[in-house]
């Protein structure tokens, strides 16, 4: 047989194999992207929402979405799909500003959402759109240590011990990272320490951070799965999840005082107006404040606002004296500027660490 005819046979065979597979894929895709074509008689309309959120809320939103979608579809008859995107809070704010079409932004810190207001994507006064300053739940920063707490870490001051390796994400991108720094700062200045003492303490901490991950989940993986570091400064929900998944290898440590984490939510007006999703976005975020929504929140280790739900889940949330960002600086804008802006406190601390490291 000549080579040419062999080639022709090979091509025919290839087509015979590839064609059905391609058709299968195409059909599956058609079904996924356009279900109304199949069920046009039963479903009136379909809507899709994109929720752009921060790192530790992946599991929370999966649960909330499942519940809310069922509820919404049964009440309105509209088919709803909610997509999620997760990364460090600061990076996500930047992505939305770059054009990521989020219908709702549920970020970790106030300045990240307010950046979207500055970019004219969210209307001024977004804090008043939902109850409690558009903050549907709260949390705090706690410590995760290795089994048996070999380094004896019980409170913030213990983080300054020599040879204590600390894992926390980068304050430049991550909400968790910024809160950890502010928590350490507050633990000094709110107990009578001077700003100089606080700066020295924070410098000591960051000198002992071997890896600065960009996001909270990355830091969790570094600490729990890669086994780097002696203590992980994590948001409470992230810490509890990490300890649960560790099969007894990790332990939680609650400091006596810590910083209050108030993650805000907002409708991204510029996007919902163009996509016509205002109403569904509004009821989606409203759902977080219902008793049902608050229970899902508590089940995922975020502290609910609802006093009844909080009491019901009290064993999950040990009492910690919480101070706020406002206790450290007059407001978030000032704190952001003083600590995290380009060339501000964190940058100068980091440069100092690098200088002294290279001088050694």
């Amino acid at each position: 047989m000549s080579r040419r005819s062999l080639q022709n046979i090979a091509i025919v065979l290839l087509i015979a194999v590839v064609w059905p597979v391609a058709r299968q894929i195409q059909q599956r895709f058609a079904n996924e992207s356009a279900p109304e074509a199949v069920e046009s008689r039963t479903v009136v309309r379909e809507v899709a929402l994109l929720n752009v959120s921060y790192d530790p809320t992946r599991e929370l939103w999966q649960a909330v979405n499942a519940k809310f979608v069922t509820k919404y579809e049964s009440e309105t008859g509209v088919k709803l799909t909610i997509k999620q995107s997760h990364a460090a809070s600061g990076s996500q704010a930047r992505a939305i500003a770059d054009g990521l079409e989020a219908d709702v932004a549920t970020l970790s810190l106030w300045p990240d959402l307010d950046l979207l207001r500055k970019k004219a994507l969210i209307k001024a006064g977004w804090e008043d759109e939902f109850p409690n300053g558009s903050v549907p739940y709260f949390s705090t920063v706690v410590f995760v240590v290795r089994k048996g707490n070999p380094k004896g870490i019980h409170d913030w001051a213990d983080l300054g011990k020599p040879d204590t390796s600390i894992i926390t994400p980068s304050p430049k991108t991550s909400g968790n990272g910024r809160l950890a720094l502010l928590g350490a700062w507050g633990s000094v200045v709110l107990q009578g320490g001077s700003e100089e003492n606080a700066r020295e303490f924070v410098t000591r901490i960051y000198r002992n951070v071997p890896v600065l991950d960009t996001g909270a989940r990355g830091a969790t993986v570094t600490f729990s799965q890669k086994g780097i570091g002696d203590v992980h400064l994590a948001v409470e929900s992230e810490a509890r999840l990490e300890v649960r998944e560790s099969n007894g290898e990790l332990e939680l440590v609650y400091p006596t005082k810590s910083i209050r984490h108030d993650p805000p939510v907002a409708i991204v007006d510029a996007v919902v107006e163009r996509r016509g999703t205002q109403d569904v976005a509004k009821s989606y975020l409203d759902y977080l404040y219902t008793p049902e929504g608050q229970v899902v929140i508590a089940e995922h280790d975020f502290r609910p606002l609802d006093a009844e739900v909080l009491t019901k889940f009290a064993d999950r949330f040990p009492k910690v004296e919480l101070f706020t960002v406002e206790d450290i600086g007059p407001n978030w804008d000032a704190v952001q500027k003083k600590f995290f802006a380009e060339g501000a406190l964190f940058d100068s601390i980091y440069q100092e660490i690098h200088r002294s490291d290279s001088a050694k």
């Binding site: 894929i25 994109l50 992946r58 992505a95 500003a97 770059d98 054009g99 079409e101 969790t220 998944e245």
Partner: protein, 297 residues
């Protein structure tokens, strides 16, 4: 006679022995090579499959197909990579043609530019597209007003993937086309063939194996691309997460079996690529030898 012969034989053996290293050195070096390859390549690759199949084939299959987001990521990679490769085939052939068949000022500069995507970090490549097409970039507002989505959507994924893998095909074709030379094409033109005829009947048959080789390498890199895609994807589960991104996400969500299942598919694709590459190398060397024989006789 006999003794003499044996001295000759033993002296050749001595010569051979003096040219070779002692046995223990050879064993040590070969052993070391196997050890390094084993530790750095074989064990990690085998571990991917071990982790993926830990719960049995049934669990493995379920991890791959039961999660719609994972299913979508496989589908997305299998649609992004071929489109990026197709773009690069057109571009690569055109660029190689231009560079090997024409002399013009700036030709060397163009050849250098072709390598730029190799030199630029994929993350930077992603950011470049973000600065071009992002809402805060040069074209972002215009694109939004006209309802065109590039970054955080399928076109963006294809664009960055095509950018990062751009040099593969052109780089593969330029030496091939240089070696073949333009004699056959000139002969075709002198016999009255037009441009397309020359291209389809002379150029393409001449470069087909080199082209296929480039396509295979390009496709392997396109499917595995992480950095640039990471920047422009927006990480929307079930929408813009390609397989490498999905692997990371599942790993971060404590779903190790799922993560390794997807990783094993990527690894399997890489192994298939490797075999295709070996087959093709064998095939082309065979063909080249044949062509040489024909030339000699």
């Amino acid at each position: 006679m006999m003794p003499q012969k044996s001295t000759v034989a033993s002296s050749t053996a001595r010569h051979a022995a003096s040219r070779e290293d002692p046995v223990w050195v050879r064993v040590l070096l070969i052993g070391l090579a196997f050890l390094v390859i084993g530790v750095l390549i074989v064990i990690p690759v085998a571990n991917v499959f071990y982790q993926a199949f830990r719960g049995g084939a049934g669990v493995y299959w379920k991890n791959l197909v039961s999660d719609p987001d994972t299913r979508h990521s496989i589908f997305l990679t299998l649609t992004v990579a071929p489109v990026a490769v197709a773009l690069n085939v057109v571009f690569g052939v055109a660029a190689a043609w231009l560079i090997t068949r024409f002399k013009f000022p700036g030709r060397t500069f163009l050849t250098t530019l072709l390598d730029l995507p190799f030199a630029i970090s994929p993350v930077v490549a992603g950011l470049m597209f973000m600065l071009m097409f992002g809402l805060q970039g040069y074209m972002g507002p215009w694109l939004r007003d006209h309802g065109i989505k590039i970054v955080f959507a399928y076109p963006g994924l294809v664009l960055v993937t095509a950018f990062v893998t751009m040099p593969f095909i052109a780089r593969e074709l330029i030496p091939v086309m240089d070696a073949i030379g333009s004699d056959e094409e000139i002969a075709a033109v002198s016999l009255g063939a037009n441009g397309w005829q020359t291209f389809w009947r002379i150029t393409i048959p001449n470069i087909k194996w080199g082209l296929l080789y480039g396509v295979i390498l390009c496709n392997a890199r396109a499917m595995g691309e992480f950095g640039a895609v990471h920047v422009v994807s927006g990480h929307i589960s079930g929408q813009t997460d390609t397989m490498p991104l999905r692997v990371e996400k599942l790993f971060q969500e404590y779903n190790n079996p799922g993560s390794f299942a997807v990783a094993s598919v990527l690894t399997a694709l890489a192994i298939v690529t490797l075999f295709l590459k070996i087959w093709l190398e064998h095939k082309t060397s065979h063909e080249l030898a044949e062509a040489r024989d024909v030339g000699v006789t």
